[in-house]
């Protein structure tokens, strides 16, 4: 799926993650901001990429500002932002959860 416009999901509050997705020429590029990036950075990026793959998004720029979110939260926020960015938020892809 194509990114049609920039979209955001999530907050900056504790245990949440704020995901902003915008278009990118080639590939998935993640800019992660997290206090625990040293320990969990790889895992956070992996969850984001898996979530985008599930929606068949190949090209996207992702800005992730993490406040200690669990994987399920990361997945939920990424999917919400991605569906908004691809203008498919009206038909949630429940099965990819």
């Amino acid at each position: 799926m194509e990114i049609k416009s920039t979209a955001m999901a999530g907050t900056l509050e504790s245990s949440d993650i704020q995901i902003t997705i915008s278009s990118n020429k080639s590939g998935i590029q993640i800019d992660l901001n997290s206090d625990v990036a040293k320990i969990f950075g790889k895992q956070i990026k992996k969850v984001i990429i898996e979530s985008l793959n599930a929606l068949e998004i190949k090209n996207a720029k992702v800005k992730a500002v993490d406040q200690g979110a669990l994987d399920c939260v990361i997945r939920a926020r990424t999917l919400a932002a991605a569906q908004r960015a691809t203008h498919t938020a009206e038909e949630p892809e429940w099965e990819v959860f």
Partner: protein, 351 residues
């Protein structure tokens, strides 16, 4: 703690809330600049009982007046305020956000994803969002072996493009391998940004070593230099020009290998004069500053302000000699629209 996690819209037109807001800002030593109209900012806040304990605002894509009551010492409140502001802006499809703040808050903003653009003694300018200065720089055309060439830059609002601007560009063009003209992007002038950009482009199209590009939000914008657009506020202008000049030096000139910045001499506008002084103080030695005297035609100094006045007074014949044909013809063909815009309150005395 007893506060609700609720962030509410704060109506600053209500004197009751305005007073609370001003008190909180005073507590953290933030001055509300007098030229900011409360109508132009959107303000949110967190209350405990009827006391305002945290607040933040935005004007267009700039965050302002962020304050948390120091007795709460609470990063949660700060994050809550910033989060609310960012989400509110996102609903308006605004994602690229700036904040100008005191150096002590730099870390707090970096912690929530902001990246520092520039830091001076008095303040820090940070940005966040779906685009960044690195994306902007990637769009700027370059030439082969740019590093070892003589690259110059001119930043202009060109409201509108005159023979005075043209003269400045010619002077730079003569002694450079490549000249960048950064056209101010902020759309607050009599001539719209697209019009200004177009007239510059047409006006220099015969000069093969000149590239006309947008200054985007990084040169003389509401983010870097808000009072440029308001006449004569010398005190505030000083630190804002320092911010703008430092950003240009560190983040624009360095990666683009710009070695000279050309300026027009400024006999009229106090704001521009202060700006020129600051550029002379901050840019060298890495970036040289060349000040070119104003071009005179029939002993009259060319100025875009005079052009705008002539439009207002319906005497455009008198300024024909100041303008390249392209600009003159454009004004002649759009005279009514421009005059209406002035009648509707567009300020023509500023820059």
């Amino acid at each position: 703690m007893g506060y609700e996690q609720d962030v509410k819209r704060v109506n600053l037109k209500n004197p009751y809330y305005l007073k609370k807001w001003e008190n909180l800002l005073q507590k953290v030593d933030i001055q509300v600049s007098t030229e900011v109209s409360i109508d132009d900012i959107t303000c949110v806040g967190v209350f405990e009982a009827d006391q305002l304990i945290a607040t933040g605002s935005f004007q267009e894509n700039i965050l302002k007046y962020i304050a948390v009551d120091p007795t709460y010492h609470d990063g949660k409140l700060f994050n809550l305020i910033i989060s609310t502001l960012i989400s509110t802006l996102a609903q308006q499809q605004i994602f690229h956000i700036f904040v100008f703040t005191k150096p002590i808050y730099q870390m707090s903003f970096e912690f929530v994803g902001f990246k520092t653009l520039v830091k001076t003694d008095v303040g820090v300018l940070l940005e966040t969002g779906d685009t960044a200065i690195t994306d902007y720089l990637a769009t700027i055309p370059r030439i082969a072996n740019q590093k070892n060439c003589k690259i110059s830059a001119i930043v202009m609002n060109a409201n509108p493009f005159t023979l005075g601007h043209r003269y400045l560009v010619e002077e730079a063009s003569k002694s450079s391998d490549l000249v960048y003209i950064f056209v101010v992007k902020q759309d607050v002038s009599l001539f719209k940004t697209t019009e200004r950009f177009h007239l510059v482009q047409v006006g220099v199209s015969d000069l093969s070593n000149v590239r006309v590009v947008s200054g985007d939000e990084y040169m003389v914008s509401y983010a870097t230099f808000p009072t440029y657009f308001i006449p004569d506020k010398t005190n505030i202008i000083r630190y804002q020009t320092e911010m703008d000049a430092t950003l240009f030096k560190q983040k624009i000139a360095k990666p683009l290998h710009i070695k000279t910045r050309y300026l027009g001499e400024e006999p009229f506008s106090k704001t521009t004069e202060v700006y020129n002084e600051t550029l002379k103080r901050i840019l060298p030695p890495e970036v040289q500053v060349e000040i070119i005297p104003r071009l005179k035609i029939n002993t009259q100094i060319i100025s875009a302000t005079k052009v705008r006045k002539a439009i207002q007074q319906n005497q455009i014949e008198t300024i024909k000699d100041f303008l390249p044909n392209s600009t003159y013809n454009y004004i002649r063909d759009h005279l009514k629209i421009l005059q209406n815009s002035i009648k509707e309150g567009m300020n023509i005395d500023g820059n």
